[in-house]
Symmetry: C2
Subunit: 210 residues, 2 copies
């Protein structure tokens, strides 16, 4: 039996969800609340398996509620409910440990499926939400325009610089003379258009060379 708590300010939807879920085998709504004012205590008291959390609530919104719960409980599965597949909220929800993110217009049978998936450790998402996530993912990862034509050896040296090694240590690690390390580093500086170790390190991070 999957036990749920519901947080949803709209009375109609709250009642509707409760009835839908209670009317389905294997699911039970322990309680349904219209705000997150006492969310921590309520979760502690009822010990639900899954929480349905509306994002757009007055007062403490769903994201805040999510954070409050996650601050004290990493176990309970939290499914975010929302009207819009809003980019910012999706991102916020995900990075704060939501287990799934579904649109309110999701058909009832789908919703039950999603709840079951969430409970069993999955991360159910409406397809449109998943698209958002993938887009964010690939957009935050595309930079790589220049690789500055660093040679293999130069890349290795740069890697060591980033790890905080001194010339001496690099020479020892790479089995070459310290003067060779100097040569490599000078070349690296030329290619990266910098003139100090820390600038090179910063550039390596910024341009994701490492």
């Amino acid at each position: 039996m999957t036990k749920l708590l519901i947080y949803e300010d709209n009375p109609q939807l709250r009642e509707g969800l409760t009835m839908l879920i209670n009317g389905s085998d294997g699911f039970e709504v322990l309680a349904a609340f219209k705000n997150c004012n006492n969310v921590v205590e309520e979760v502690a008291a009822w010990k639900p398996d899954v929480i349905l959390m509306d994002i757009d609530m007055p007062g403490i919104n769903g994201i805040e509620g999510l954070k409050k719960i996650r601050a004290v409980n990493d176990e309970v599965k939290i499914l975010m409910l929302t009207v819009f597949d809003d980019n910012k909220n999706v991102f916020q929800a995900i990075s704060n440990g939501a287990n799934g993110y579904v649109l309110k217009k999701t058909p009832p049978t789908k919703l039950l499926e999603y709840i079951a998936e969430a409970q069993s450790g999955g991360a159910p998402m409406t397809a449109s939400i998943a698209t958002q996530v993938l887009k964010m993912f690939s957009s935050m990862n595309n930079e790589r325009g220049e690789d500055y034509n660093l040679s293999e050896r130069e890349k290795q040296v740069l890697q060591f610089l980033v790890e905080g090694y001194s010339y001496k240590m690099i020479a020892s690690e790479m089995f070459i003379a310290i003067d060779t390390v100097r040569s490599h580093i000078k070349k690296i500086y030329e290619k990266l258009h910098v003139n100090s170790k820390s600038e090179a390190v910063a550039k390596a991070f910024k341009d994701k060379l490492v």
Copy 2:
């Protein structure tokens, strides 16, 4: 009518998928191939709506195939098929523009659902894959674990270090003596547990202090 191409090296699975899909209303398999050797030409010739692409193929694997297609075609929807929810492959697939990522053990009816979702612009994912994605996402975004108790002034100095300023330049920018800059930097090193400028810069990036 949703038109598909299938890339799958296993003959059984290839035939099975073809029959399953061709036996379903609204879907049609245009062709099924056992490798990606001519993927670009094939896609151009058949103009499918959706491509089912196995990841684990000998020769040109699914990720490579995906890249080849995306290099010339951003329109066609590509669903990756795989046996494992392997972290690395998921990431690769996503950042190279896959539209969905489903496990081969997905039941037939689900698979057809996923294909339909992909075609209509969704991003279908098996729940376990979605979990992977969320984990990667939130791990790459952990806001501010420690701030190392850096004072305001120290944060400013660190910022300048990250920007590649020398002690002299920092002193000039902050209207303080170079020895004061030294003092600040020494304190910063203590707090960050490092002992060189470039290590401090690297740590600043890693821990998102800047």
